[in-house]
Symmetry: C2
DNA sequence: GTGAAAGCGCTAACAT
DNA sequence: ATGTTAGCGCTTTCAC
């Protein structure tokens, strides 16, 4: 608003040209130390601040990257965003956040065009949805893009947690403990992560020659886990459940507690994410740890590579997971 | 990067002046409909997008607001950010996120100056710390500012949850149930919210003529709640605990479970925040609901008022809380 | 209703 | 090592 002092003002005060002020402001080397001191002093005196709009207008670079995300309230998304923001700050970039209300194609495209009007050099999309995989959907080109959790590695640069390995480890852990089979409470239908985890769970069961129970479809919320847990509590053939995230595992365990079914004595439960609270659940939850910070950092790195023009704009980069064994899993009681 | 088509390009194609294109782009009225149609057609044809840097340079408005927040974002902060981002998008503003690594004065001032170089019309600070209350600390002026959770209402515009009322309701609820007194696991020393909640708990106890137990100082994490819970579990005079957030309440309950102390039968627990998972804790947690969305919306509203020049830049706006009674509280067993 | 001119604050390119 | 010139894409002002 209040237009602050410009380079011209600094230049006048220091008795040099605006160009020299520019050189000092950008830390270029070829400025005489004494001149530089004078300029710096002048800057401080009048409280000079570079005007990023003018710089962007001239250079075509905004030093800002856009992040499009579906309501940031899930634990993983916020951790990823945090990591992106931190890495961006280190690289001298700021983050422009564009929230979308629904993870739909229309919303996403809308966000993209709003972003087109804003000042960003590249975009990271965190939308956890299959919408980008459809061959008929294309993001406007011309802007570097990195996508988190998607199957569209052939079209874009994507960064992803190794969902398949995580789900396999979780399932196998339960099988190795001696459980006949493992039930699964999945994420919602449209979610890419959800289907990856479900597919891997199923494949692991098949591979082990175990029966594949009907999938229970949740929506990531603890409450959906609770609802399915109520159903599971009524069957006495269930001894092990793999929930596609920690929240649903939490809800599931609540339903089990309510029905006096001991965890892990009668039913073992494993989650996915390793949210901060997971170790304080009752009982402390065995779960698959995702390294969200690594995802965020890698996203930014890949995006910056694209912005600087030295990069393959497609392909999938995968971050490994780790199974964290806590106290919600044990051998089945019936094993003799 | 790839410089897109400019107004001049559109103008050339439509056979009008750049000026007319500008008028159309800004929705001004005095343009002949047929001319307007031609311009719009030309825009679409070559995929014109306004260049925000150029506009900002000219108008001095960036249509973007900065949000400075402490990196290790808590549940509440994220929800607040979400609400801010959504409200901002509706008002045609984007959000520039500036994370700070530590909630210190130095970091905050640094973030502020980085922001000064970036393109924002105003700033929202979410740092949950007392640093802004100190009379010797002042944020650079000239930029509209709104602060969340602070005591500096005399210097800035601040928006806050009614921490005092929430803590009082929580404490009184326990007292009303018949508990002799209420223990408190507080947030960390430097936190404004933490001390507000603690003070109010203490005042409520005093007012009721109840003994005030030693405060147990936590750090918002479930683990710190767990550690204090272990200590509490060793005393048989404890029947009611008010934790300053849900995570600590969760950890506390875990410690109680481990020591076979029934909740709420032997010890009642209440939290603060009402995070999404709280209703799925075991047992479902009685807690103080904070309306983070309202906080975020109000922040933006107040900031926009300042930006538009019609506002008092100081004062405190308070959002009410609600006590949500679930199953972690009951009358003390010893009551006869 | 429309156009022409000027300039926002900065930096790239070319002087010196 | 420093200055000069020009122009990024847009909007404001004033003319027609």
């Amino acid at each position: 608003m209040t237009r602050g002092p410009s380079m011209a003002d600094v230049a006048a005060l220091a008795g040099v040209s605006a160009q020299t002020v520019s050189r000092v402001a950008n830390g270029l080397t070829n400025v005489d130390p004494s001149t530089k001191d004078r300029v710096v002093a002048a800057m401080n005196e009048i409280g000079y601040r570079p005007n990023s709009a003018a710089r962007a207008l001239k250079t075509g670079r905004f030093k800002s990257i856009g992040v499009i995300m579906f309501t940031l309230s899930t634990f993983g998304n916020m951790r990823t965003l945090d990591a992106i923001a931190t890495a961006a700050a280190q690289a001298g970039y700021s983050i422009t956040l564009i929230p979308i209300a629904l993870p739909t194609q229309v919303e996403l495209l809308g966000a993209f065009s709003r972003l087109g009007e804003h000042a960003v050099d590249g975009v990271i999309v965190i939308v956890e949805s299959h919408i980008l995989d459809r061959s008929d959907v294309s993001l406007p080109t011309g802007l570097p893009v990195v996508i988190v959790d998607s199957d569209a590695g052939d079209k874009y640069s994507v960064v992803d947690t190794d969902q398949a390995a995580g789900a396999r480890d979780a399932t196998r852990h339960l099988l190795d403990l001696g459980h006949r089979t493992v039930w699964h409470v999945s994420g919602p239908e449209g979610s890419f992560s959800a289907s990856r985890r479900k597919d891997s769970w199923e494949a692991t069961l098949l591979e082990a020659g175990a029966e594949v129970p009907r999938v229970l479809i949740g929506d990531w919320t603890a409450n959906s886990g609770y609802l399915h847990g109520l159903e599971l509590a009524n069957r006495d053939d269930v001894t092990a459940v793999f929930a596609a995230n920690d929240q649903m595992a939490l809800g599931l365990m609540r339903a089990l507690h309510e029905n006096d079914i001991a965890v892990p004595d009668r039913v073992s439960v494993v989650g996915f994410d390793d949210m901060q609270e997971a170790s304080s659940f009752w009982p402390p939850l065995t779960t698959v740890h995702q390294d969200f910070s690594a995802v965020g950092r890698l996203c930014l790195e890949k995006l910056l590579d694209q912005i600087d023009g030295n990069s393959t704009a497609r392909g999938v980069a995968v971050i490994p997971t780790t199974l964290i064994e806590r106290q919600s899993t044990a051998a089945p009681a019936s094993t003799t």
